[in-house]
């Protein structure tokens, strides 16, 4: 139950953090402090946070170089978002998601859409992994620098195929739902 309350508070902080203007630095600092506390309380491995923030560092450096005025606010926002999403997604399943949605009195269609998005994110991840493996096995992604035409071509076909497959899957899912009376 405590974990669930922490998740609900984190969800609320995430929404507030996204909605808050970059000019209100004190509020963002407060949000970061609370989310850090919640992160510690959740006993989530610090490695998860480091792994996720490492993906963000290039973007933050880019911001520091070109828009130094907003750097602090965006740094606070993004770090808070990473902390809160780590808390929300820790040991998370569809049942918890549905429970959270019902507790927050969200409309049932909205909960269904959220639950299906969560359910099919796993399937789509599997599809991306399978696509990437197949492309790799056929010689793509060997040149790992970004501006190599082979790399960009492989990346393009990966993303393109992913969208097409997602579209077909969505169509088949819609038909399955319709057949079973939804």
């Amino acid at each position: 139950m405590t974990k669930l309350i922490i998740k609900i508070i984190s969800f609320a902080i995430l929404i507030i953090c996204i909605a808050t203007s970059t000019k209100v630095t004190i509020s963002l600092l407060l949000a970061l402090t609370i989310s850090s506390l919640l992160f510690v309380l959740s006993k989530i491995s610090f490695k998860i946070f480091l792994k996720r923030i490492s993906l963000l560092i290039p973007f933050l450096l880019f911001l520091l170089l070109f828009t130094p005025n907003t750097f602090l606010a965006i740094f606070l926002k993004s770090t808070t978002a990473i902390l809160t999403t780590a808390i929300i997604t820790d040991n998370f399943n569809i049942t918890t998601l549905k429970y959270l949605g019902q507790k927050l009195h969200l409309p049932s269609y909205f909960i269904d859409i959220l639950a299906m998005t969560f359910r099919y994110s796993f399937t789509l991840v599997d599809e991306v992994i399978a696509l990437k493996r197949n492309l790799y096995l056929r010689g793509s992604f060997k040149k790992k620098h970004l501006f190599h035409s082979g790399f960009l071509g492989s990346l393009g076909s990966l993303i393109g195929n992913f969208f097409i497959r997602s579209n077909f899957r969505a169509q088949r899912l819609y038909r399955s739902l319709k057949i079973r009376g939804y």
Partner: protein, 228 residues
């Protein structure tokens, strides 16, 4: 009603491939018959199955339970179940139990006599080891388990017509045998697109063979058994 499915002058041209043209002049599928839908890859088996629900844009007439599925799909759905080729397309709830009861709730099949427990218990008698899957989320299951779970969701409404698209693809022999045993117990009308010769011989009474967009054979399976 004797005819479960009636097809007259069916003609389908794929919008993105004008060379694909599937034609069926006349086909009648009667109550409790078990039909195998056979043909090479790309011969139009899945297209025909999709057309039975009115999902494809075809010319001609398809009647299921005397109703045109393009106009009155909702009328036939409470009596018809579909097992997709890819089980991920048909398992969308939090747990397999929820997936099983999904259609029953949508078609208002639950009442004082038919409760959730009675439906689950009936399925447990038909499907061995289903109890091990009930409380698990679909994404945790193996491919074979997903196939079994999907069949359970289809049988939950106790359908008169069961339509299956390649139910045995990518299964090992043991799982195939399990699935064959479960399908053999099904008493209603069955249409099954498959390439599995053992399953056809064990389950089916009739076959429809598609080749080059036309019906190469339709009728009693006994006459074609030696060629399968």
């Amino acid at each position: 009603m004797h005819n479960i499915i009636k097809i007259e002058n069916f003609n389908f041209i794929r919008s993105n491939n004008k060379f694909f043209n599937l034609k069926i002049n006349h086909l009648e599928i009667n109550k409790n018959e078990k039909w195998a839908l056979l043909g090479h890859n790309g011969s139009g088996k899945t297209t025909l199955l999709n057309s039975l629900f009115g999902f494809e844009n075809y010319q001609g007439l398809i009647n299921i339970f005397g109703v045109d599925p393009r106009k009155h799909l909702k009328k036939i759905l409470p009596f018809t179940s579909y097992v997709a080729q890819n089980p991920d397309d048909g398992l969308f709830c939090s747990t397999i139990k929820e997936d099983i009861l999904f259609a029953c709730k949508n078609f208002n099949l639950l009442n004082e006599k038919t409760t959730e427990t009675t439906i689950i218990n009936q399925l447990l008698q038909k499907i061995p080891k289903l109890e091990l899957l009930l409380d698990r989320p679909p994404y945790e299951l193996s491919f074979g388990e997903k196939k079994i779970a999907l069949l359970a969701t289809a049988l939950a409404i106790n359908p008169s017509l069961l339509i299956m698209d390649e139910p045995f693809s990518m299964l090992d022999q043991k799982q195939k045998n399990n699935l064959i045993e479960i399908i053999q117990k099904f008493e209603g009308t069955l249409i099954m697109a498959t390439h599995d010769p053992v399953a056809i011989k064990e389950i089916c009474t009739h076959s429809l063979i598609l080749s080059n967009g036309l019906v190469a054979y339709q009728g009693n399976l006994d006459e074609t058994k030696h060629t399968i």
